[in-house]
Structure formats: structure tokens, C-alpha cells
């Protein structure tokens, strides 16, 4: 397969995954914004949404205030924000269009119609129900792309490269969402374990479709360390870091087997995966969750660079 084709497939699915994450972040922010907070303990869910989407700096450049309307517009539709949902779908489609031949008709149509339908949702309706409709549609679009790829694509390198994009992006997003909750969301005056805290954690879990899963796994009330355990170490949780790495190593190994040789990306992914499998929540908290997540995000980026070196250029 052409290196450029592999690169396009990889980024195509990264962008779709990113669009979905941004939609989930927006959803979480709008739920949090709906809850009254105590006087004087001002938090800004919309600011934290920007942080979780890794868009704080670029938003600051616009000079706008982080109001619900501004942030929603910026994360959903802005042409200036390279990670806006609009631009994610646009880039996904541009990448898909460049490798039209490596995709099945179903997958191409899923991506193409996401882009075409996007124009129906415009910024003039930022009412909560308008926002919810839009978010639901983004998730559906992403599911359609994912599902059509899963159901129709041949299991060979084209599929594997597209899956690598999904899991690399997802690991990054999960780590960021967790990190933001821990360091940005909770105002200093609010006690850990308080009502607001509970509500925020449950919203985080919802944003990764894991609230029900949490109760199934732990049969316990929401505890920050258990949530971290779920989103970092539990392989059965599909958006956890461990699950992402189980998949990344699996698809990289498929590639290595098929091509008859392995390289740095396989070794790096396996190393990270082993670390996640051997890690314990206690240790992570002891050494600092923020530090752990920051390091993880760096290592995850490094895996992206290694994959690029080995296959994509």
C-alpha cells in the first residue's frame, strides 16, 4: 500500500474520532452548565471544554469570552479552529477522498454524507435542544463511519491503519478529559466528594458513555480513584487507555505479521501497553494523576510519530 494512502486512512479516522470526542465534550459542558453552582465558586465549564479539546490557546487568540455560544460555535463550526467538528469532518472527507479506492462504498458514503449533512446544522440555533440534536447527529455520524468500516472493510492493512488512527486519537482524548476534570473543573472551595464533584464526575463518565459501565464494574458510588481506574486501567472499558493500547498493539502486530517485519512503533506500543497492564491506581494517585496523564499524552504522541516514520512517509 502507498505510504500516502496509509497516512490518509490513519488521519481520516483520527479526525472522525476527534469530531466525536469534541461532541462528547460539548455535551458534558452543556450538562454541567445546567447545574447551579454556589455563589462565589465560579467555574467555567466552557473554559474547561476548551481545555479538554486542547483548544484553549487558539481560542484565546480570537479574543472572545468563553461563553456558551462562543465556545459552542468555536468547537462545533469555526473555520478558524482546526479541531472544530466542522473542520474534523472536512479533513476526514478530504483524506477519505484522496484514498477513495481504499475505502468501501459504505465507509466513503458515511463520511461523505457526514460532510454534506453538516451544512444543515448551523450556528444560529445554539439553544440547548439545538445543541443536543447536533451532538446526537455527530455521534451517529461517527458511529456510522466506524460501523461501516467494521462491517465492510477487508481485514488488511487499509483497515489496520484506519484503526490505529481511531485508538491513538481516543487514547489522547480520554487522557485529556480525565486530566481536565482533575485540574480544571473543581473550584478550590468545593470539597472533593461534594455534590458538585459528584455531578461532574458522573458527567465525565457520561461523556465517555461509561456511567452505566461504572456501576456494573464497581457496584459502588462514584469514587475518583475508581473512575480513574476505569478510564485508565480497565481493558473491558472501550475508551480506557488500556483498551486503546490493547487495540493499538494488536493492529500494529497484525501489520508486522503481514509485512514480515516489526519496528520501533510495535516496540513502543507494547512497552506502553505493558506499563498500563502493570500499573496500579494507588501508585498513579501517589505519584500524581496529572503527572501520569501528562506523561502518557507525550508517549502517545511519540507513538504517532513512530508510526509515521515507519509507515506513513
Amino acid at each position: 500500500m502507498l505510504s500516502r494512502t496509509a497516512d490518509n486512512l490513519f488521519w481520516m479516522s483520527r479526525y472522525v474520532e476527534r469530531a466525536e470526542s469534541i461532541a462528547r465534550i460539548l455535551h458534558a459542558a452543556s450538562r454541567m452548565a445546567a447545574v447551579p453552582i454556589a455563589e462565589g465558586s465560579e467555574t467555567n465549564e466552557w473554559q474547561s471544554a476548551l481545555a479538554a479539546a486542547n483548544c484553549e490557546h487558539i481560542f484565546a487568540e480570537t479574543g472572545l469570552e468563553a461563553t456558551d455560544e462562543n465556545v459552542f460555535e468555536f468547537l462545533a463550526f469555526s473555520e478558524k479552529n482546526p479541531s472544530s467538528i466542522r473542520n474534523c469532518f472536512k479533513m476526514a472527507r478530504t483524506n477519505a477522498r484522496a484514498v477513495r479506492t481504499a475505502l468501501t462504498t459504505d465507509t466513503w458514503e458515511a463520511i461523505n454524507s457526514a460532510w454534506l449533512e453538516l451544512h444543515r446544522y448551523r450556528t444560529d440555533d445554539v439553544s440547548p435542544s439545538g445543541l443536543n440534536r447536533f451532538i446526537a447527529w455527530v455521534k451517529e455520524s461517527s458511529l456510522r463511519v466506524d460501523g461501516s468500516a467494521y462491517r465492510t472493510m477487508l481485514r488488511h492493512d487499509a483497515y489496520w491503519f484506519s484503526r490505529l488512527g481511531v485508538y491513538l486519537e481516543r487514547a489522547d482524548n480520554t487522557a485529556r478529559i480525565l486530566d481536565v476534570k482533575y485540574h480544571v473543573l473543581l473550584p478550590a472551595t468545593e470539597p472533593v466528594g461534594g455534590g458538585l464533584d459528584f455531578f461532574q464526575w458522573s458527567t465525565i463518565l457520561r461523556s465517555v458513555s461509561a456511567l452505566t459501565a461504572y456501576h456494573w464494574v464497581y457496584r459502588d458510588s462514584l469514587k475518583p480513584w475508581l473512575i480513574a481506574d476505569l478510564l485508565i486501567l480497565r481493558e473491558e472499558m472501550p475508551r480506557s487507555l488500556a483498551s486503546c493500547y490493547a487495540n493499538l498493539t494488536m493492529f500494529l502486530d497484525e501489520l508486522a505479521r503481514d509485512y514480515g517485519r516489526q519496528g520501533e512503533s510495535q516496540r513502543h506500543a507494547r512497552r506502553l501497553y505493558a506499563q498500563l497492564r502493570n500499573a496500579r491506581t494507588d501508585d498513579i494517585f501517589q505519584n500524581g494523576l496529572h503527572e501520569f496523564l501528562t506523561e502518557f499524552i507525550g508517549e502517545n504522541n511519540r507513538l504517532g510519530a513512530l508510526i509515521a516514520d515507519q509507515y506513513l512517509i
Binding site: R4, W108, F161
Partner: protein
């Protein structure tokens, strides 16, 4: 206006119906208009969903448009087709022989059949190709010959496309969509299939692989990239052929061979079906500012280690000035009378012809010799006084840049437009595949239709649409 044109359904007589169209006419009469309109909309939706779009240069708003598709098929009888395809093969044989001669011994110039400056002063002539060996002398493996019909017996060749003719994806997709939307019509006609085109193309490309290539040569389709107006077609064909769709950046030259960069390292490429113009192929030989090409590609080509389809320099054969010599070219190389006639053409470079053209400008169509896509032409009968005067001035300034032809009475076909069925002018582009083993043509081609009432310009860039073309046995 309608009566002066030959209508392919009704013939010369408006009340009648020609035999091959009778079933269709009956069917159209039986089916309610709503249904046809509904199917037309379905077709448009299908085209948009599949992503069959094209970009129009200079239209920033409509980044991608679909070419309008007309649901009424255009019908050609088996007998008409036999004659057409015989004439097409003959014409393409002559084009290949002409190119081999022009880049070889140049006997046609020695015989004094055409002025040498027509070749040597022509920007489409590539001196780099002099003496270059081309396998089997197949310079033009893929030709698109534009045909127009003027009455029940006469087909003219309007234009030869010997560089990178496009449109074949529409021939294939139009058929797919027609079969999906109107299965009942296909049960009433025996329409000859066209869907073996990709197989025939693949066989053709394999046949021209360099002798140094392995027995199963690696073929790649080279595109300028997603922003090219025909990108959809490039990706569509690569897919059907089962070959890689490469851009210049994907290819690299090493040790006199061309390779593509793959996830498993470099892989040799033997045949490149390139949809990139000569000028952009290799920045070391042609335009140095080209980012679409591959540095060193021409050196590999010269060493005979890669075949290009079509060969470099074929533009000299489809130049409109050369076109007017095609009857002579055909006789010179094949010793045969052309089966397909040229449209009578005045070469404005010749003083007598120029005088005639200037006198009769309102009746003529004047084209730029090197233009394509319907740009830069004058349609006399449709032009106002000022346009005529401006064009006359251009003509006098550079007569050698123009040819003129009578305004052709292009045939019409019933076409579904806003007001219902109405006659619209059509042309036909069949695709002729020449390999070192045989010449292949699938029965049919791309029918382009001028959707505007009275318009004779069928180019998609000028508001033309397409129709499915049926070759049927009646």
C-alpha cells in the same frame, strides 16, 4: 428551430419515430411525467452520494458539482456501431502511425503533405521524443474520439483526444445508474454491455509494459491529486483496475527505475497510466515549477524502463491544426479512405481560407487551435455584432491560431428538461484502446448533451450534461 436538425428519435420528420427508438418512445408516452422527474432526482442523489463530482475552474463557490445526468438514453443501432467502430479503429491506427513517423523519420514532411512549421512551431511537439522507442509504436493506448451526427447516415469526427481523454467514468456510472433506475427498459432492449471497459483497459496497459518489466507488470494510475477536476474519474478507474492511484510525491526515481513509496518500502512501477499533462510530468525536463511530477521520470522513460500511457508528445496529433490534415494522414499511412469524415475545416493560416472565414464569420464556428473544453471559441450564429468584430480582429492578428468550421447541424436527442421532454444537441465520445496485441472498443461511449435550449456546446464546463449511450440490436 427544431426542424433543421436531425433528431435521433423522430428523424427528419417530426411526427415519425425511427425504429430503434420506438419502444422507448412508447415507454416514455406511457409513464407519467412525475415518475420520470422522480427518477431523475433519485439519479442526482445517487451521483452525489457516490461522490461523482467535478470541479469547475474559476468557480470558487461551487467547489464540487455533479455533471447533470439525463435519464433518457441515447440509442445507436448495432449496424451504425459496426461502421463507427471500424472507422474509429482506422483513425486511431493512423494517429499512432503519424506519431511514430513525426518522432521518427518524418516521411510525411518529406512528402510535403503538411507545412513543417505546423509541427516544429507547435508547442505540443516534443523534441525530447525524437528517436524515443515506444513499444509497438503505440503512442496512444487510450484515445477519445469526439463524434457528431448530422443526419441518418453521416457521422463526423469533431475532435481527436490523444492526450489524456476523460469521461469514461461517466460512461460506466451512467449505465450503472440507468440499470438501477430503469430495469424495465433494459428488459425491452438488448443493450450491449460496457462494464468490461476496465478489464480491456488493464489488458491494454499490460500489453505496453517495457520489455524489461516482469511478466506481471506493476501498473499505477498517476493523478495530479484531489483538486483536479477529473479526480473522481482517476480514483474510480484505479479502483476498477485494481491498481494504485499515485501522485507525483508517491513516486521516486532510483537507478533508472521508477518506484512507489509503500508501507513496505519501495516498489517498482512498470506502466504509468498518467492523467497528468506532459508539462507537469518531470520538473527536470519540463516545467521546473511543477510539483505534480516526478524528478527524473523522463530519464527512466528514455531508458525504456517505464511505459507511459499515453506517450509523451501525443498532443501533436490532436492539435486542431493537424486535425484538418487527418484525411491526408490516413491515406498516407494506411492507403485507405477514411470511413469517418472530418468536419470541413478552413485553416485560417491559409490566406484564401482566412478571407473566406472573415466573409462568413456569422455562419461559422471558429476555434483556437490549441484550446480545449469549449473555451476561447466563437459560435458565429450565436454571437452579436460586437463579439464578431472583436473576434475578427483576433483572427487577423494571429490567423495561424485558428480554424473555422461550418456551424454543424448537430443531431438532437429527446432530453428531460424543466419543461418536460425536449430535443437537445448531443455528441459522442467513444474510447478506443490500442494495445500491442489488439485494438479494443467497448460498444458505446460518453454522450454529452447541451442542456440549454439551442446550445451547441456540450462541454461539462459549459453547462453540458451526460446520457447513457445504448448500442442495441434491432
Amino acid at each position: 428551430m427544431g426542424t433543421q436538425f436531425f433528431d435521433e428519435m423522430h428523424g427528419a420528420d417530426e411526427g415519425g419515430c425511427r425504429l430503434p427508438y420506438r419502444v422507448l418512445e412508447q415507454w416514455l408516452a406511457d409513464v407519467p411525467d412525475d415518475l420520470i422527474e422522480q427518477r431523475r432526482q433519485e439519479a442526482e442523489l445517487l451521483f452525489r452520494r457516490i461522490g461523482i463530482t467535478f470541479a469547475v475552474y474559476g468557480e470558487s463557490l461551487a467547489e464540487e458539482r455533479i455533471i447533470p445526468f439525463d435519464v433518457v438514453p441515447r440509442i445507436i443501432t448495432g449496424d451504425e456501431w459496426e461502421r463507427l467502430s471500424f472507422g474509429l479503429k482506422q483513425r486511431v491506427r493512423a494517429i499512432n502511425a503519424f506519431l511514430a513517423d513525426i518522432y521518427g523519420k518524418q516521411e510525411i514532411l518529406r512528402a510535403g503533405l503538411m507545412p513543417p512549421e505546423l509541427i516544429f512551431a507547435n508547442p505540443a511537439f516534443r523534441p525530447e521524443m525524437m528517436g524515443q522507442k515506444i513499444r509497438g509504436d503505440i503512442y496512444v493506448p487510450i484515445a477519445g474520439i469526439d463524434i457528431v451526427r448530422v443526419d441518418s447516415d453521416t457521422f463526423y469526427v469533431l475532435e481527436d483526444n490523444a492526450r489524456t481523454p476523460s469521461g469514461v467514468s461517466y460512461m460506466l456510472e451512467d449505465r450503472e445508474v440507468m440499470m438501477m433506475l430503469f430495469p424495465e427498459l433494459f428488459s425491452r432492449y438488448h443493450v450491449r454491455p460496457v462494464d468490461n471497459y476496465p478489464d480491456e483497459l488493464l489488458a491494454t496497459l499490460q500489453s505496453i509494459a517495457p520489455e524489461s518489466a516482469p511478466s506481471e507488470p506493476t501498473i499505477a494510475l498517476m493523478t495530479p491529486g484531489p483538486f483536479n477536476s477529473a479526480y473522481y474519474e482517476h480514483s474510480f478507474l484505479a479502483d476498477k483496475l485494481g491498481v494504485e492511484l499515485v501522485e507525483g510525491n508517491d513516486l521516486v526515481v532510483q537507478d533508472s527505475l521508477v518506484y512507489m513509496r509503500t508501507t513496505e518500502g519501495l516498489q517498482r512501477v512498470d506502466v504509468i497510466y498518467r492523467r497528468v499533462d506532459d508539462d507537469f510530468l518531470d520538473p527536470l525536463t519540463f516545467r521546473p515549477d511543477s510539483t505534480l511530477g516526478v524528478a527524473g521520470l523522463m530519464s527512466v522513460y528514455e531508458a525504456g524502463n517505464v511505459s507511459l500511457a499515453n506517450a509523451v508528445g501525443t498532443g501533436i496529433a490532436d492539435d486542431k491544426a493537424i486535425y484538418s490534415y487527418m484525411p491526408e494522414i490516413l491515406k498516407f499511412y494506411l492507403g485507405e479512405e477514411p470511413v469517418l469524415k472530418n468536419v470541413p475545416t478552413w485553416r485560417c493560416r491559409e490566406p484564401d481560407a482566412l478571407a473566406y472565414v472573415l466573409d462568413h464569420l456569422p455562419e461559422l464556428v471558429v476555434k483556437e487551435v490549441h484550446g480545449s473544453g469549449g473555451y476561447g471559441m466563437l459560435v458565429g450564429p450565436a454571437a452579436d455584432k460586437q463579439m464578431l468584430e472583436e473576434f475578427a480582429a483576433k483572427l487577423k492578428a494571429e490567423p495561424e491560431n485558428f480554424i473555422a468550421q461550418p456551424t454543424l447541424a448537430l443531431s438532437t436527442c429527446p432530453t428531460w428538461v424543466d419543461e418536460g421532454l425536449a430535443p437537445r444537441h448531443v455528441d459522442l465520445r467513444p474510447f478506443v484502446l490500442s494495445g500491442t496485441d489488439e485494438v479494443r472498443i467497448v460498444p458505446g461511449g460518453l454522450t454529452r448533451v447541451a442542456l440549454r435550449d439551442g446550445s451547441l456546446v456540450v462541454n461539462s464546463s459549459q453547462g453540458g450534461g451526460t446520457k447513457d449511450t445504448w448500442v442495441v440490436n434491432v
